[in-house]
Every structure is written in structure tokens, then in C-alpha cells.
């Protein structure tokens, strides 16, 4: 038999202590894994949704709110901006692409977004069924929307006023599903997309008293915000300043706001990380106490191994191997538990129509989990192993 086999037997000869140590170590490693995975997946989700969007222009207010509502569809927008003002921006020499976004209604908690087909092509999303809208009041739904609402091509539905659900239904203006998007793992998965004109039509139909009133409303048409791509990176210096100082709108740079958001969230993450660290430290101490106890308890057995010819290093190696077994098992269980917890969080967030995370992922940062486990196990086993190394066979002869 090999050292690892004997170490395994010795480890489980004290099943309760081994199980408790394994549990403690696993909890610490699962917490670390969970934090790493969630951090990684949120960053990935942000990166995917932000890709190619240099600046967001909308109503004045909180720039972070503008980004959260306009790019990630997580917050309420700061207000609306005149369509004419956004049209003006199309002529700006530093602007390469503008995608209009009009918000206001939702369907079973999923936001109805008035936009152009550019929004879909921006994220390189593909249709799984049907086609893009050809006229107002046709809608293309994201994969998650289709999955959770059961809507399919040809079905009709009505939006409700407001973004959170529970608002008044626009019964006079039903939508027809023209297409369903394949999962793109972007924000599009949880949106109902339609022509900007649809959003105007729904609200003008509901609020106009007569044709004259409708004409007035048409002249004052607004959108919620615009996603803008620059022609040149240099625009990042001058364009936001131009918008903020020369127009009634505000420009918010997503990269800046997300960095600010992550630094705010980062404090919480650091606290959680510190807690996981404390758990790992506790686990390390527990492993140390268990191994130390094992050396004390098995002192004579270890001495007998020396008597049977085992060199001191081999005896110490047996102890180290026990700790390594714990590290290996805890790593496997901790990573699996971390993946499970992340999937659970992803499921909960999906129910909340929030950021898409949760798919099993193996970011390179996860390497730190076995490294930590190994470090804790070795650090805990070092003194007991040294004690085992020094065990005196003479004591065995004198232990009567």
C-alpha cells in the first residue's frame, strides 16, 4: 500500500473529527469560491452589456442611475429627453452610432424597450424563431422572457404602465410577438424589444383626447435615453463635457460609473472575503488541533513505524498526507458547493429579472481555491508533522 492509502485510513479512523474538519474547511473554501464566481460572473455580465457603448445620454440626474437603467435595465430612468435633441446628436462629428431607448412599460416584470434593430445587432443576438418587427406593435422577446412567460411567435400581449409591474394595462394597444431571440447571455435575454414608435403609439393612444391632441403629442415626442458609440476614443474627453454643459441632457460614461459602483460594492465584498478568511483560519486551527491530537494519540504507533524501519521523513509524510487529503476533499466539495450557491443566486436573480449569472464557470481565479486549501492544510500540518518527525522510538520501549 502507498502512503496516500494509509493516510486515508488514518484520516477516517477518527470519522467525526475528520468530518468536522472537512466541513469547516469546505465552508471556508465554498465561501471563497462563491465570491470569486459571483465577482467574475457579474464582471462578465457587465462587460458583455457594456461592450461597444461609450456613453449614455439621457435626462439630467444621477449618472449611475442613467447607466443602471439604460444599459443594464436594473433601475428606473432619470426621465425622458426630447427626440429632436437626440436627432441633433446624430449629426455630431464624434458620434458613430446612436441607439435610442424608450422605456415606460413592462410585461410581467420584463421591460418593454422601444428601440431600433441596431440594438439587437449591437449585441450580435440571433433570432431563434420568427423575424424582427416590421411595423409598430410587433415585438421581439428575449430568450428568458420567452422561457418564463411562455410567449411564442404569433401570441399577443398587453404591456402595463411602469417598469415594476402592477401598473395599468394598455388594453387598447396589444403587441404581437414577431420573433424570439436565441439566448445571447446579454441584457437582451430579459427584454421585450419593439420599435420606438410602438412606445409612442401606446401612450399617445391612451392619453390623446382627440386628433389635435395626438398631433401635439407627436410633435413633443421623447425617448428615454440614447446609447452612443464614439467615432474616436478622443471623444471621451470632449463629448460628455459638451453634452453636460451645452444641452439639457446629461452624458454618463459607463466605464466610469461601473468602476464607481464596483468600488462601492467592493467594501461589502471585502467584508465577505474577510469572513471567508476567518472561516479558513478557523478550519486551519481545527485541522491543526486534530492533527496535533492525532500525533499525541498515535505517538506510540508512530514510534513503532520508526522501529519497523520507517525513516523520520516518512512518518512525518504520513501526517502531511492526511492534511493533503483534507485539502483535496475540501477543495472538491468547496468548489462544488460554491458553484451550487452561485447557480442558486443566479436562479434567484433570474426570478427578479436581474443580472444574468449562475452558469457553471471556471475562471482562472479559481486556482486560488486549491492553493489556499493546500496552504491552510500544510500550515496546519507543519507542527504536527515536525512532532511526528521527532518521535522517539526509545519512548516506545519505555512505554510500559
Amino acid at each position: 500500500m502507498k502512503t496516500i492509502a494509509f493516510a486515508w485510513r488514518y484520516l477516517w479512523s477518527r470519522p467525526l473529527a475528520a468530518a468536522l474538519n472537512l466541513l469547516l474547511l469546505t465552508l471556508g473554501l465554498a465561501s471563497i469560491t462563491f465570491l470569486l464566481l459571483v465577482g467574475h460572473q457579474i464582471n462578465q455580465a457587465f462587460d458583455r452589456d457594456l461592450a461597444g457603448i461609450d456613453v449614455v445620454v439621457g435626462a439630467k440626474g444621477s449618472p449611475m442611475q442613467l447607466i443602471l437603467s439604460g444599459v443594464f435595465h436594473l433601475d428606473v430612468p432619470t426621465g425622458n429627453v426630447p427626440l429632436a435633441a437626440v436627432k441633433e446628436l446624430e449629426k455630431h462629428p464624434q458620434v458613430a452610432k446612436i441607439i435610442p431607448i424608450s422605456l415606460g412599460d413592462s410585461f410581467r416584470g420584463f421591460r418593454i424597450v422601444g428601440t431600433t434593430p441596431d440594438y439587437i445587432s449591437h449585441y450580435e443576438a440571433q433570432l431563434a424563431q420568427g423575424s424582427l418587427w416590421a411595423k409598430p406593435m410587433q415585438a421581439v422577446i428575449g430568450a428568458q422572457v420567452a422561457q418564463q412567460t411562455g410567449l411564442k411567435v404569433g401570441d399577443s400581449f398587453t404591456g402595463t404602465h411602469g417598469l415594476g409591474g402592477g401598473g395599468e394595462e394598455h388594453k387598447l394597444s396589444p403587441y404581437v410577438v414577431s420573433g424570439v431571440l436565441a439566448p445571447s447571455h446579454t441584457v437582451l435575454d430579459r427584454l421585450v424589444l419593439t420599435a420606438t414608435e410602438s412606445v409612442w403609439q401606446v401612450h399617445e393612444t391612451d392619453t390623446a383626447l382627440d386628433d389635435d391632441d395626438r398631433k401635439v403629442l407627436e410633435e413633443d415626442r421623447e425617448i428615454t435615453l440614447a446609447l452612443i458609440q464614439y467615432k474616436t476614443p478622443l471623444a471621451a474627453v470632449t463629448f460628455p463635457r459638451y453634452i453636460n454643459s451645452s444641452t439639457e441632457m446629461q452624458a454618463a460614461a459607463p466605464a466610469l460609473e461601473i468602476t464607481r459602483l464596483l468600488s462601492m460594492v467592493g467594501v461589502g465584498t471585502e467584508v465577505l472575503r474577510a469572513l471567508a478568511g476567518v472561516l479558513l483560519l478557523t478550519a486551519g486551527l481545527s485541522v491543526f488541533i486534530a492533527l496535533w491530537g492525532a500525533v499525541r494519540e498515535r505517538r506510540a504507533d508512530l514510534a513503532l513505524l520508526r522501529m519497523l524501519g520507517a525513516p523520520p521523513g516518512k512518518v512525518a509524510g504520513l501526517l502531511l498526507c492526511e492534511a493533503l487529503w483534507l485539502a483535496l476533499l475540501a477543495t472538491v466539495l468547496g468548489v462544488l458547493a460554491g458553484q451550487g450557491l452561485t447557480a442558486l443566486l443566479g436562479w434567484a436573480l433570474q426570478l427578479e429579472k436581474s443580472v444574468l449569472i449562475g452558469a457553471i464557470s471556471w475562471p482562472v481565479e479559481l486556482v486560488s481555491v486549491p492553493v489556499l486549501a493546500l496552504g491552510v492544510a500544510l500550515a496546519s500540518a507543519l507542527l504536527p508533522a515536525w512532532e511526528a518527525y521527532r518521535v522517539s522510538v526509545f519512548e516506545l520501549l519505555q512505554s510500559r
Partner: protein, 218 residues
């Protein structure tokens, strides 16, 4: 064979132990007699290569112990000396088979299933191979410990107080077993004891040597 000449062991900062000369032929029996603290353990440790003589000569199975290095000593002990401790120290984490496999592992040799079976069969405990030590009677446990001691066919068997806390019948059976095992292997048997029954048992043994230990200062 075992041979000593003016053997002295010196404890660090402590007393010196001077041992009388003795010569035991290969296959013979040596009884180390004396009360606790008179040097039986020290003599066994010297013979096993765990301690080095301060002065004099000690030769065990052709090896001059004063010349044996620490690393070489481990390898030499693994293959030359079989040890039966007073407390048997069978690992409770392992089965009977596992305890013998552990002895081969400690000696740095490949697990030899054939040899394990042979050793267990020789001591009539082969049927107990899958049992844990806690499931053995005292006599069975001693047989298993002896099988472990002779697993690598040592030329010397060191037994430390093998009859301690045994009744007369069990003590006699235990010594019978030790003698038979040593004879089968042609091994020299060294028994450290303060039990008068051991001397009585071996009184007619051919080639018996006895060493009465006592602390002496020059």
C-alpha cells in the same frame, strides 16, 4: 549472532550504563533480566540500532552497531530486526492485513501479499486478516503482532516483556509461540523481562544466555 565487548551507554548529562559481555549464537536465546530502570530498554535500543554505544563493541547479525549510520540504521533495522513491543501497538485504523502491509510500507518494501498470508498462516491467524485489532482477543492480537515482527524474516527478534500482565497459561503459550517462531526462522531471540516465569520456561533451552542487568558506575 549477538556479541558485546565492554559495552557502555552514556545518557546525555545522565548516568552511564556498563553492560557485561555476552555472546549469543545465531538462533540462540538471550534473556535480559533486571528491574525497571536497570537498562533493559537501553540494551534493546542499542541492539536495534536506535542508540549508539558510547564505548565498547556491539555486533548484531554481523553488523558492528557503533559503525552504523542513522539512515543506514533504519534500513538495517527494517530487514534485520523484528520487534514485539510490550504494548502491541496494532493500529486501530487498519485491519490485521493492513497492519502487516503497514510494516512492509515502513520498511520501504513493496506490499507482498504472499508473504503477508504466509506470516499470518504461520501464526494461525490468517482467518482474522480482515478484522480490526479491536475485534481480536489478547492472544490473537499477540499472534498478529508477532506475525508483523517476523514479516520480513528478521535474523533477530527483540521481545519486550512479552509475558507482562498474562496469567501463567497465557504466558506459557506466548513464550511457546515466540520460541517456535524464532526457531522456524532461525532467528536469535532476545527477551527483555523481569518475569521469573520466563527464566523458568527457558531453563533447559539449548544455547540460552542470560544477562542480569544492573546499573554500575566505573
Amino acid at each position: 549472532m549477538i556479541s558485546t565487548r565492554q559495552l557502555v551507554y552514556r545518557y546525555a548529562g545522565g548516568p552511564e550504563l556498563h553492560f557485561e559481555d555476552v555472546d549469543v549464537a545465531q538462533g540462540g536465546v538471550l534473556l535480559l533480566r533486571g528491574a525497571s530502570g536497570w537498562g533493559k530498554s537501553t540494551w534493546l535500543a542499542l541492539a536495534a540500532g536506535l542508540l549508539r554505544p558510547a564505548e565498547g563493541e556491539l555486533t548484531v547479525a554481523g553488523q558492528a552497531m557503533q559503525a552504523l549510520g542513522k539512515v543506514a540504521g533504519d534500513a538495517w533495522r527494517a530487514t534485520t530486526v523484528g520487534f514485539l513491543p510490550q504494548k502491541l501497538h496494532l493500529s486501530s485504523a487498519l485491519t490485521v492485513h493492513g497492519n502487516l502491509a503497514m510494516a512492509q510500507w515502513a520498511a520501504g518494501v513493496q506490499t507482498d501479499e504472499g508473504r503477508i498470508s504466509e506470516a499470518l498462516a504461520a501464526l494461525d491467524v490468517q482467518a482474522l486478516a480482515r478484522r480490526k485489532p479491536a475485534q481480536l482477543s489478547g492472544g490473537q492480537a499477540q499472534r498478529v503482532a508477532l506475525a508483523r515482527a517476523v514479516l520480513l524474516k528478521p535474523r533477530v527478534i527483540l521481545a519486550d516483556e512479552p509475558t507482562a500482565s498474562l496469567d501463567d497459561e497465557a504466558a506459557s503459550a506466548s513464550l511457546d509461540l515466540l520460541r517456535a517462531t524464532a526457531q522456524r526462522q532461525g532467528a536469535t531471540l532476545v527477551i527483555a523481562t523481569h518475569d521469573a516465569r520466563v527464566a523458568e520456561f527457558f531453563k533447559d533451552e539449548k544455547g540460552l544466555k542470560a544477562l542480569q542487568l544492573g546499573r554500575r558506575r566505573p
